[in-house]
């Protein structure tokens, strides 16, 4: 179980290392505009093949690259209904504070739970290795966070129920 996680993260890390070669590229259609090409997808010559890396039926990672931007969309493991709700709320909380993260996208891509958008400007200001480390670390920590949240919800539920039923 742990070994597939390690292999999955290694695969994503290697793919990101190879795919994160971004350069500044002004918009071809509109003068003096500079847009992330992976979001607009207007010119096919600027886009690379999108790559979908699945660990199993539930978890997957979509990496779309273009000349000046890369979009990474993640779907995290959600075993039951409670994890579903917790993951949705937690990731929505993060997405709403996307300004603070810089590389986070405010809305996840359709079919995924959270998305990152990294442009050439991010690669110029921040270190590429550190960006990749951040994304892989994020994926590791998300699972831990959601399990912790689930445990605290069940613990609290149990305490509340015990207290409430004491009066009977």
């Amino acid at each position: 179980m742990a070994s597939t996680l390690r292999l999955y993260l290694t695969c994503i890390r290697n793919t990101l290392e190879a795919a994160m070669c971004l350069q500044n590229f002004p918009c071809q259609e509109v003068e003096r505009h500079n847009k992330p090409e992976v979001e607009l997808k207007t010119s096919p010559e600027l886009l690379l093949n999108p790559v979908l890396i699945c660990r199993n039926e539930a978890e997957k990672c979509l990496i779309e690259t273009s000349i000046n931007s890369i979009r990474i969309s993640l779907k995290v493991k959600q075993a039951d209904e409670l994890e579903n709700i917790l993951a949705k709320k937690f990731l929505r909380f993060l997405s709403m504070r996307a300004e603070a993260f810089q590389v986070l996208r405010r809305k996840p891509v359709q079919g995924y739970d959270i998305s990152f958008l990294i442009t050439n400007y991010h690669c110029e200001e921040l270190q590429k290795q550190k960006l990749i480390d951040f994304i892989v670390q994020f994926m590791e920590d998300i699972d831990k966070e959601i399990s912790e949240l689930k445990m605290s919800v069940s613990t609290r539920g149990r305490l509340v129920a015990t207290e409430f039923l004491k009066q009977f």
Partner: protein, 133 residues
């Protein structure tokens, strides 16, 4: 004129489909004889087809050969470097299927192949929009 061209293309597709079926049978017989490395070489040979149906048929044969491999290191050691790029493309196709066993096997091969072939191999499989698998 376009209709003539389409009928020629579909004839070509049928030829390619029969060739791919023969290749699949050959791969299966090689796997039964435990000759995994030859099976993979046969599977990876030949130009990836253009037509979607041919691509799917080709993928089924390659998938069988990939799932039969137990010794990844040995396989990569005996494989010619010219096959690394095409193998990487098939691995990414395997990873996109989402099937648990396929993905497990493909992740193992991906790690070892990246160690051997480097990041250039990954980038070539991403950048080649013409010859997709």
């Amino acid at each position: 004129m376009a209709e003539v061209k389409k009928s020629v293309e579909s004839d070509n597709a049928k030829d390619i489909l029969t060739k791919i079926e023969n290749k699949s049978l050959k791969i299966e017989s090689l796997i039964k004889q435990y000759k995994f490395i030859e099976a993979i070489k046969t599977a990876l040979e030949g130009y990836p087809p253009r037509d979607e149906r041919c691509k799917s048929a080709n993928w089924i044969g390659v998938h069988k050969a990939l799932m039969a491999i137990k010794d990844v290191e040995g396989m990569l050691r005996s494989l010619d470097p010219q096959y690394y790029d095409i193998l990487m493309k098939y691995i990414y196709r395997g990873l996109s299927t989402g099937n648990r066993t396929t993905c497990d096997q493909c992740l193992k091969i991906h790690e070892k192949l990246t160690e051997k072939a480097g990041f250039g191999c990954i980038l070539r499989s991403l950048a080649d929009t013409v010859n997709t698998v």
